[in-house]
Symmetry: C2
């Protein structure tokens, strides 16, 4: 009904993956291959997709008129296609963005903690010590990236790549949270006694 020409958006639907790809394409036109690379960081800290999922989804977005593509004779057996968001695609993205998400997070490491007392305490303690170490490394990495982005002015909401910075900051917060929790849990399992939160030794 309303608005954009060629917009048959009575169907408001579309998968989350589709919107993720539209978000990536707002940074500029890209091929399926490039999107597969770009979904790795920083978005990949909180959202991933393989090329086998991306290519069919691009075809669906194209059929819906939310992206269009130009072909250039590529290196392989098939032509290389560069995709760009259409006005209808951008409108769909904007409409989706302001809908409050409902999806529950899923964390396998927390699920394992739920059954922690069923396993060998030393082995479980090692698991969470490793996790704490990993989060320390990731945190250092993310903080470096964040500092670089700030130097480039990406912490300004007016910067077109502000979203990259926002995602990275969530990564920083998450890794801090994981670090504190994993260190505490490892400490509990190692000592076999209750450990006050914040008093866990490394």
């Amino acid at each position: 009904m309303a608005g954009i020409e060629g917009d048959d958006s009575a169907t408001v639907s579309g998968s989350t993956l589709g919107y993720a790809l539209l978000s990536l394409l707002t940074r500029g036109p890209a091929t399926g291959y490039q999107l597969t690379q770009q979904v790795k960081a920083p978005l990949g800290h909180f959202w991933t997709a393989r090329h086998s999922q991306i290519y069919p989804e691009l075809a669906r977005l194209s059929a819906a008129g939310w992206v269009d593509s130009v072909e250039q004779a590529g290196p392989g057996p098939r032509a290389k296609k560069t995709y760009a968001v259409t006005p209808a695609g951008l409108a769909a993205l904007r409409a989706w963005l302001v809908i409050p998400p409902t999806a529950q997070p899923r964390s396998e490491i927390t699920l394992k903690a739920y059954a922690a007392t069923s396993a060998d305490p030393a082995a479980m303690a090692a698991l969470y010590t490793d996790l704490a170490d990993r989060s320390t490394r990731l945190l250092a990495e993310y903080e470096q990236d964040a500092a670089r982005m700030r130097a480039a002015g990406q912490d300004d909401p007016a910067h077109p790549r502000f979203g990259n910075y926002a995602v990275l900051m969530m990564g920083v917060e998450s890794q801090r949270a994981v670090h504190r929790w994993a260190r505490w849990l490892a400490s509990c399992l190692r000592t076999g006694r209750p450990v006050a939160y914040g008093e866990a030794a490394d």
Copy 2:
């Protein structure tokens, strides 16, 4: 090969959902219906499953010899089945627990932040203000639950329900992280200028 009689565990496999159900059943025998309720909290903060997924999975676990069931004439058209973990099931769970998890987290709210600059700033700021409020409420709720558990001695790794406490503590950490991040992001979007982390007003 080794060990438990009746154990044909050359097949080490099994789905994550299966292990989640085994973890729940280590708390004691339960019906599919009860598991559906129990998966809601605190495990549901980080793992969910509907009854339509649970019933077939219980049948698979039963076929694998990881749980066994007794039927009692139930209220409805079908008999009510109470499931319990077998020694083979417990062994499988223990083996799975110590494998470092690899699954990436998926967060729709962070994905939306990635495209934050494509939407109306006021609407996006409202989205993250709501999220900050929600995390405040959840945090208060979780902290109360945690205090109750500590009073019951569940913060002791020797307590059979220590896992419930560990999951809840991850919930506390996560909601704190989300709160700080959402408040900061809302502040950025509201003012339209870079906001130093930790200096976001409510």
